[in-house]
């Protein structure tokens, strides 16, 4: 009888990764739970879809490689996100992402949306890129990966109050950057 892995905790699933019989199924369940969060993070931090795909794939490959029966997993989401952060930072440091790539990519990402939605998405992405890295990380994890402040704090290894400050300051800064867009939008709607 096939085992139901969806009822297992993250720690139990992680420990099963080191067992050949359960490795694939346990990995599949962990992938199902966290792939979206990790993918969104890689995509929004790196911008470039090729880099994001590489970082995403490398994150899960590293997760598989880290599996060891000796390792006690206490906070799997934070562990996985730490791998993703380190991978993305490595890529940023090596490739020094260029502005041209980002703009090209922005048009590719938002092709399924309306024109207005495309516009706001691009502007938000560009505005995010102007923020300090830790503010951007925190906002991406909160806005796009839908993580709570405490989860972000654990993942980033900083106090919750720090995360709250980063997010609130970052969003304030975002609004300041996007203010011309909002003003123009108000004018258009008034007409």
């Amino acid at each position: 009888m096939a085992q139901d892995y969806s009822g297992l905790s993250d720690s139990e699933l992680y420990s099963l990764l080191s067992q050949p019989d359960h490795r694939e199924a346990a990995f599949g369940e962990l992938y199902r739970r966290y792939s979206h969060r990790v993918f969104v993070y890689c995509r929004k931090i790196l911008g470039n879809s090729h880099d994001a795909d590489d970082a995403f794939q490398e994150t899960f490959i590293k997760l598989l490689g880290s599996a060891s029966p000796k390792r006690q997993m206490t906070n799997f989401p934070a562990f996985l996100l730490t791998i993703a952060r380190n991978t993305c930072r490595d890529m940023l440091a090596v490739r020094h992402r260029e502005h041209v790539e980002l703009i090209e990519e922005l048009h590719g990402v938002a092709c399924d949306f309306s024109v207005e939605q495309n516009e706001i998405n691009q502007l938000i992405t560009m505005a995010l890129d102007l923020l300090p890295f830790e503010w951007r990380e925190a906002i991406v994890l909160q806005l796009y990966a839908n993580m709570s402040y405490s989860e972000i704090a654990e993942a980033m290894g900083v106090p919750v109050t720090t995360v709250r400050n980063w997010i609130c300051r970052g969003k304030q800064r975002l609004r300041e950057i996007l203010q011309p867009y909002f003003d123009e939008r108000d004018v258009r709607s008034a007409q």
């Binding site: 979206h36 206490t74 730490t82 949306f113 998405n121 806005l143 969003k171 609004r175 996007l178």
Partner: protein, 403 residues
């Protein structure tokens, strides 16, 4: 309760992080303040746009298939040597063992050699000189400490004395003026001394003790024990130890580090005077931190953007004091252990640190010892505008060379 601005409260409310008791305050302000309403609308617009975009951001099926295929492969087998090398214990034992062997080799090369006098030279120092019975032994000295003090104060190293001859430190002068006969070490820290005449008379230091019988024909050679190293007044200690993390306050930041032999190694140089030593240390060990790096101005930003990168290992230097258990107390221990405790203050590239340590120096050889330490480390550094503190508890084992 923390006081937040209404704008901050709007962000917290939309994020689901605003406490319930503050929501009514926000709602009442929103009902009357148009600027706040506009602010709320803008924040909501950003949030909805992000949510809609996030829903469409999914890994492609091809990417998912590539990743899942990696899970179907069994974990790569590791070779025996790789497993042995990856073991921290094995690496530590190898490092300490290598250092131990090197220490013995260096110590045997640099240590003073034992000198044996030739028979003719020895005779020159013994019977012929002592045949002048009028001479009284007034003082017995070695270059490092008086022999009498050694005999009295060092029960761990009893001195074999000829039964027919009393202690050379005890003497009596009868009617003759005292002459001095000094015990001169024929080699530093060797086991042979010889009695020689000196021309300078000195006053007797003991009176009323029995007269020494003649030591006319017997060469007086006293076997002094090696001076126990612990009794040295001052010494230079150079040590190297491998450290292994026992606990870290932010374990989720930990990641595997390289298997470099240099990793998790601490080198210390200390100068010990009696029971206290001044110590300088330098270490390279695992201590995860976020380190700042200034990036160039991006996309028209007015100021350079500071980015933070995780760093698993850290260089640090520091200095401080160590206090050793006094020798007479340490002698009661079953083995030649010398417990100590110390405190260090130091700096790294990212911040400042403090270390506390307790340990034992096992004096296995006169010039080589083994250290066992339990160390606590606190590191303070900045992340953005915040001060962060991280703590670590580690155990160390190493080898110490004493000069």
């Amino acid at each position: 309760m923390e006081q937040w601005s209404y704008q901050m409260m709007i962000d917290l409310y939309l994020d689901g992080e605003l406490p319930v008791e503050q929501r009514s305050m926000l709602f009442s302000a929103l009902a009357t303040n148009e600027e706040l309403q506009q602010h709320f609308h803008q924040a909501l617009l950003i949030r909805l746009a992000a949510l809609q975009e996030a829903q469409h951001l999914m890994p492609s099926p091809a990417l998912t298939a590539r990743i899942m295929s990696a899970a179907q492969m069994p974990p790569p087998p590791t070779s025996f040597f790789a497993r042995v090398w990856r073991s921290r214990i094995t690496r530590s034992i190898l490092a300490v063992g290598s250092a131990f062997v090197c220490g013995i080799a260096v110590g045997s090369f640099l240590a003073p050699t034992t000198t044996t006098l030739s028979p003719s030279r020895n005779a020159q120092f013994t019977t012929a000189q002592l045949s002048k019975d009028a001479a009284a032994i007034t003082d017995v000295q070695t270059s490092e400490t008086t022999a009498s003090a050694i005999f009295r104060e060092n029960p761990r190293f009893p001195v074999p004395m000829p039964t027919s001859s009393p202690s050379p430190s005890v003497h009596s002068s009868d009617n003759n003026p005292p002459e001095s006969v000094a015990i001169v070490p024929v080699a530093t820290r060797t086991s042979t001394v010889a009695l020689v005449h000196t021309d300078t008379p000195t006053l007797p230091t003991f009176h009323g003790v029995p007269r020494i019988p003649s030591v006319s024909s017997m060469p007086l050679t006293i076997a002094l024990p090696p001076v126990p190293w612990s009794q040295k007044e001052s010494e230079l200690i150079i040590s190297m130890r491998r450290t292994s993390m026992l606990a870290f306050r932010q374990p989720h930041l930990l990641a595997p580090v390289s298997s470099s032999p240099v990793a998790n190694t601490i080198v210390a140089v200390e100068f010990r005077e009696r029971n206290v030593s001044l110590c300088a240390q330098a270490g390279y060990e695992q201590f995860p931190l976020l380190t700042a790096k200034e990036e160039g101005s991006m996309q028209g930003a007015a100021t350079p953007i500071r980015q933070y990168f995780p760093q698993q290992q850290m260089w640090w230097i520091g200095a401080g004091l160590r206090a050793y258990l006094p020798v007479d107390t340490a002698e009661s221990l079953p083995l030649p252990f010398r417990p100590f405790a110390g405190i260090m203050l130091g700096t790294s590239a990212s911040g400042v640190l403090g270390r506390g340590e307790v340990g034992i120096l096992w004096e296995v050889l006169p010039s080589v010892g083994i250290q066992f330490l339990l160390e606590g480390m606190v590191h303070s550094h900045t992340v953005g505008s915040q001060w962060e503190h991280a703590e670590k508890l580690s155990g160390s084992i190493g080898v110490a060379f004493r000069f």
